[in-house]
Amino acid sequence: MEKVYIQLKANIDMKLKSKCIVGDVAYVAAKYHIKKKIENIELGIVEGDFYNIISPTTLAQNIIDKVDNVDLKFIDDQDVLINIHPVSKKENKFWLVLRVMVVMVLLSIGTGIAIMNFHEDVSMKDVHIRIYKILTGMDIKRPLIIQIPYSIGIGVGMALFFNKVVPDRFGGDPSPMEVEMSSYRKKVNGYIRKKLKKGD
């Protein structure tokens, strides 16, 4: 009995209607010739709407059908989540750039108006007048000397937070945005797994 250790991959991307072999969905550890044989076992054609899952038992069944005399051991029992990409028609670069432009205009104007409303809501003008009075003892109607550095400082603060100013000095820690995106991705994947498993 040859010992074979199999570890299923967690998330993979495949194109619709492409052939799926064991080597795509799992890491196999075994002696060389057995490993090559197992990795080339075909599991089927990729089909489905957007996602599909493969469970360890399906994989084990396929391997036992094709290869004799193996002792399979699975390292963990997670299902493989396949992210199915449709056969991609070549997308015109123009639409992509247009979308980026639309999003940029939307975000710029939107956040600009939002910050104006925020200033009006908290009566920041009066607070600035008061701060000027505390700092210099004089009354003033438009403390531009505070307000212009304040506006520039907003940009600096946001850039600092988003990891854009000094990207090399953080010792390898990801920025909060990247952590957020990956945890969002993980939550979406977990939900999809649960939904597909119940339906299967």
Partner: protein, 138 residues
């Protein structure tokens, strides 16, 4: 006499409520951990906590007692800049908690251009603030 004691008690409780709410809000936004991460000064976290507490108390007292100083323009520019930096970090922490950017990237399918979204956000806020102070407020 009893009324004075009542006033002192009410003021004190009011302060406790406002103070804890303020600190809880700052804590959940992760502003201080982010600053510590940027400057790599994890050991001084206690110092930062004490700084925030003591400075807030001092500034509130200065505000209430109508004290005024006589500082030069350069110092005022610096203070304004730091006010802005703090508000900028506050705004981006809020943006991050509400997951705006991952949702936009996924909805519009613009995965490789994510850094342009940051540029748009920053530019929008800076320009919006400048326009507000220079043209809109009279």
């Amino acid at each position: 006499m009893a009324i004075k004691a009542m006033c002192i008690l009410i003021g004190f409780c009011e302060g406790i409520a406002v103070g804890t709410a303020f600190m809880a809000f700052i804590t959940i936004l992760d502003i201080v951990p982010r600053l510590i991460q940027i400057t790599k000064t994890v050991k001084y976290i206690k110092l930062y906590e004490y700084t925030m507490i003591i400075n807030v108390m001092i500034i509130v007292l200065i505000d209430i007692c109508n004290i005024s100083f006589n500082l030069s323009y350069t110092v005022i520019i610096f203070i304004g800049l730091f006010m802005g930096i703090y508000v900028g970090m506050f705004a981006s922490a809020l943006t991050e908690i509400t997951n705006v950017i991952p949702i936009i990237v996924k909805t519009f399918s613009i995965y490789n251009y994510a850094s342009w979204i940051f540029a748009a956000l920053i530019l929008g806020k800076v320009l919006g603030s400048l326009i507000y102070w220079i043209y809109i407020v009279k």
